[in-house]
Amino acid sequence: MTVRHALALLVLAAAPLTAPAAQEPTQGVRIGLTYTAGTRPGLYVLPMRGPHADSIRAILTRDLDFGDRISVIAPDSGAPPTGKLNYPLYARLGAAAVLQLTPNAAGGLHVVLHEVGPGRVMNTRDFPLEGAPLSAGWRRSVHEVSDEVERWVTGVQGIAATRILFVRGGTLWQVDSDGANPQPVSGVGSALGPVWHPGGSMAAYTEMLDDGTRVVVRDLLKGTARRYVVEAGSNSSPAFSPDGRMLVFSSGSDGTDLWSVPLDGSERPYRVTVGRGSTNSQPTFAPDGRRLAFTTNRLGPPQLYITDSDGANPELLTTSGFGDQLYRADPSWSPDGRFVAFSTLVEGRFQIATIGLRDRAVKQHTLDGINEDPAWAPDARHLVFTSSRSGSKQLWVLDTESGRLRQLTHGPASRMAAWSPRFSIAR
């Protein structure tokens, strides 16, 4: 029996466990409460009393709403119920679960999740709330509660406690996933195209000086920076390998190629692409680190290619079209490995699209205005991108499954977003 046969048998054996829930909505192995797949379970968030209760409840319900996996039911007024919950009442209101929030003695939050169907407490936990109330750190603590509650309800951890790096006024900024706390990253000069290190504490970006561009890796906590140059003049569009050890970026004088450099500088730069004078730029790694997608004009207009991470087996990812619709760029490989999101020229304007790695099916996600430069959220479901639909370039968040959109940034023009990984904070 060949390895392939063995793999096929394994897949078959596993199939009943992972069969799409749509076929048998109420069966299958899953974490979280039971609800009909393809719908968003209703979560009733009970009124809350105590210090900053309104803020906590508002942040939490908004986070769960932005997660697009839960249908949040949160009436504005009322007193918290006392005694045993009237589960059938919440069932009639469309709730599959009820969230009960109470301040605890330690200044934190006591959280109880009730499952309405069986009428029982499903999960309970005390969360600390760090820092001064309403401060950035305190808000992040609340976001972490939201993300855990989303995991309790849906089986998938939320992405509220994440941040987005972006470019505003030619330098680097970051903003919370809900649009709060936009602030410049200190110590950064002229910057383009930020990306997060998988560890979440570092970022790489292109620094633009009068004598050229170079790649900078900055420790966002310590403020230290290291610069990377393969060939003087042009060094841009960095990407980290998923293991966080390598940095791949575009460099060259006559055309640009992708080069791979160990972050610690322990080895000489390795040339990944051989473009022969063409532009090869914007690398993005598959989550297993074995392949990467990039933009190249080696066939004429910019197109997306994928290649083994050592440069072997380069292959056209996006198929050719006609006329100006050939322009495709800004690839971003989804954290679950299934899709590459990109910008594509449609009737003279850029739009956001995704292509499936398995079936190469392309899906266009936007229609209004000019939409560019998508970057995946760590949930492999949401995309942040630059859109001109509001009149100026701003960051917007798209739920690729429902098509729901929300504006993330306001004020001065913002672009070139990068979504952080989920931060793992030791407690």
Binding site: L192, M208, S234, S237, T279, S281, Q282, F350
Partner: protein
Amino acid sequence: MQRNKVLLLAAVAIAAGSTAACQPKPEVAPVPTVNQDSIDAANRARAEAEAAERARREAEERARREAEERARREAAARAEAEARARAAMDAARAAFATAIYFDYDRSDLKPEARALLDAKLPLLRANANIRIRIAGHADERGSDEYNVALSQRRAAAAKKYLVDQGIPADRIDVVGFGEERPAAMGSDETAWAKNRRDEFEIIVGGETLRLP
């Protein structure tokens, strides 16, 4: 009648008295004889001296004016030469600094771009010490990051042309600024066309340029 006699006598007496009181009469000074010739001679001499003085002054004045005029002409000529040289230098600098333009998403040189690059060659050849930087730019359309690479390729295309014409490659730096430093604001073809460009800058030796 008697009365008339008295008066006459009195008058005689007075006359006699006064005659007796008079001094002896002095010799009369001889009246000088006027020599008109010498007067004329003196006048002539004086006129001649005055004329000579006038002529001298006039000559001096003329010489001074001529010197001034000469100086003015020389200064003017110098200024004109300097202005011509400056104009020639300005023209050479302007020809050098003239941007070249590209088509959308293209980095190949158009014929007019080649002509503009040719116009830069004399200055580059006359000043072997200068070092230049070619900065490529892109319009706002297209991927921001890809445009950095595209603009760098535009700069590299101009460098390759100059190197092919004999300018040493190590005297030319190239850099791509993408769409980050537009020459014209706006979101129409007029602005875009102005932004798809290479700019040229002398980064070493620009203060002491020699004319071609």
